[in-house]
Amino acid sequence: MTVTPNGFDLDNTGQRIVVDPVTRIEGHMRCEVNVDDEGVIRNAVSTGTMWRGLEVILKGRDPRDAWAFTERICGVCTGTHALTSVRAVEDALGITIPDNANSIRNIMQLNLQVHDHIVHFYHLHALDWVNPVNALRADPKATSELQQAVSPSHPLSSPGYFRDVQNRLKKFVESGQLGLFKNGYWDNPAYKLPPEADLMATTHYLEALDLQKEIVKIHTIFGGKNPHPNWLVGGVPCPINIDGTGAVGAINMERLNMVSSIIDLCTEFVNNVYLPDLVAIGGFYKDWLYGGGLSGQSVLAYGDIPENPNDFSADQLHLPRGAIINGNLNEVFDVDVRDPEQVQEFVDHSWYSYGEPGKGLHPWDGVTEANFELGPNTKGTKTNIEELDEAAKYSWIKAPRWKGHAMEVGPLARYIIGYAKGHEDIKTQVEGLLRTMDLPVSALFSTLGRTAARALEAEYCARLQKHFFDKLITNIRNGDSATANVEKWEPKTWPKECKGVGMTEAPRGALGHWVQIKDGRIDNYQCVVPTTWNGSPRDSAGNIGAFEAALMNTKMERPEEPVEILRTLHSFDPCLACSTHVMSPDGQEMTSVKVR
């Protein structure tokens, strides 16, 4: 048994369970745990199994194009990466953006938060709590009553409506097309909902699908197209012509009205469906407060959504910035992403080399040199690893640390920091939810807390969209229609050498791009993405990462059915380097779970 510097007792003597790949996440991820005789997780190892080297393919490219490449890193954070990239380049070149561009970027970023959180809850995470097969046993009339009790203002609540959905579901399951629901462990006792709650949540899964179709239109309007909206260094690529009619691309009143009605739709859905579902489903899992991991001790946020353009000071950001360490909520440290001593990446347990052990590098000095080697206690071969040796290198993810501390990032981190700082909206929301659910503050530090913070944040972000929409309209009415600053568009206006950093709060946490520009071209580019923080392996000092910490001490009902592992990992909304991968005629490949 070893005790990590961040306070976890690791014991790798028990039965080893390997889950590879972890499904319903972005990218490739593998997880190994050891459980004791009681089925409690006593050691956890999280691994990114895929090389990602965006940094090196950007070398020599035009920095004004970097956003288009970073937009392709992943299938979900496209807009966030693009925004982070243009911010990094603007920072390097000293480019300021107009007020309207700030409002439009904020609306797009907030819209993505709401969209992503809804998609995550209903499409990727719900199946960890909700059992669609059990929904077949529900009484539609009782479901209707439940719906009206949890959300009286939601119009879709008749018994006939739920009966229809149930019939569709039945047909779908009977046709053998369990497709969507195929990786479930539907008779596992970890599922606690009565059939009516299962039917209600499954129904909302379908409603969320209809909603997402509308939500993305904001990106089409402001970004010119979707998927893969357009971005621009210096502002946003959409001109404003408020009195224009039908001009292709330009923002006119008709389009702005559409934006406004989409914002209303988001707010309505979050208030009438998402939040009530969270309370209703969460109510059955109040005893399942595992998964806190690092959230009770060390959390980090860069902050985002600046009220005014070009001002990223902490008190000007709607999503809070700060760092909390060792669980001391009375002290929130400010975070300086330029400080070479604060954010550093370590690779002692990652498949990279810095040339010397124990070294941490700030992203501006970052090096991405692959070094794939396995430790002596690995079982299997390089091409077929049965068990990793976590004492050696074991992941393609680097280990970022803030002043040497392993940190959790994401909605829960933002909400703990906001709560600790006394952020008015956040504090009110958190206290209200804890009161409604009759839970103490300590319940926040859990898997359920992570899931709850995401829902609260969706509500807050939906509201903020409205704030920036009103701000945009007022500014346009006052005669300002500028959306871009092209003063420094031409490379001849740039310094010979410069560097910059862009920060955002992506739906899944703090995201930073660090760029160095030389002779008009990208000389170095480093991204530290949220899942690098959360999914990090151990560091030189032996601190375990956020995923690993969150899995510790969780009791598994049936170790061969890793519902609990998936539940906690999914609560982070992991996003490991979007990938590829060819379709296979087998088509039916399922997660392999090996118990050794």
Binding site: W51, G60, R72, W351, T368, T381, P585
Partner: protein
């Protein structure tokens, strides 16, 4: 042949252009737009790896023509066409996109919602190389773009859609900086940009 109405046809290229032959689908759509004039009832779309986010486009389509890199277990650069009910089986679990929602799941979701396109055709090409981040199409796969387009145009003709040589103006393609020419010619050299991949994913990788 088509019993269903073909008011709305979606031609979709899927895959990640950053991963060598995985970019086959989007590149086909780019090439089609540059070489042929399609009627307004046909929408060309570079779907990237958007997974579930593509559902609205699929729901809106009466017929769906997909270009993609597909692992059929055939020789690299082999084209294979499958249709209708056969399509989902070829869009399997290894296709990672939105949170690992495979495209198969997207089609299943459309079916669950009762919004599947009446006709579906998948024109797939067996890739040669995927584990080359930042790389472009290998010659064997690039050579299949023209035959794939010919096959696609024949498929559209079967659906009663007339395609002529020319151009199609659309905003739904990749930004010019990552279209095939600019992307492949602007790649940094192997000395500056390491091209290693994870040994476990290397075809034929050794211990």
């Amino acid at each position: 042949m088509p019993a269903a109405r073909m008011d709305s046809v979606l031609v979709l290229g899927i895959g990640n252009v950053l991963w060598a032959d995985e970019g086959f689908g989007p590149r086909c759509v780019e090439a089609l737009a540059a070489s042929h004039a399609l009627p307004p009832s046909v929408r060309l779309l570079d779907g990237g790896t958007q997974g579930l986010y593509l559902l609205p486009f699929i729901e809106a389509a009466d017929a769906l023509l997909i270009f993609d890199a597909v692992d059929y277990g055939l020789a690299p650069g082999t084209l294979k066409i499958v249709r209708d009910d056969e399509v989902p089986a070829f869009m399997g679990a290894k296709k990672m996109s939105l949170h690992q929602t495979g495209f198969q799941d997207v089609l299943a979701t459309a079916a669950f919602k009762g919004c599947s396109p009446a006709r579906m055709t998948l024109i797939g090409c067996q890739p040669e190389e995927l584990e080359d981040y930042g790389g472009g199409l290998r010659d064997s796969v690039a050579a299949q773009i023209a035959p794939a387009l010919t096959a696609g145009i024949a498929e559209l003709a079967g659906w009663g859609i007339e395609v002529r040589p020319g151009r199609t103006e659309t905003g739904d393609l990749a930004d010019p900086s990552i279209r095939r020419g600019a992307y492949e010619s602007g790649r940094p050299s192997e000395e500056v940009a390491c091209r290693l991949g994870d040994a476990r994913f290397f075809p034929g990788g050794s211990d």
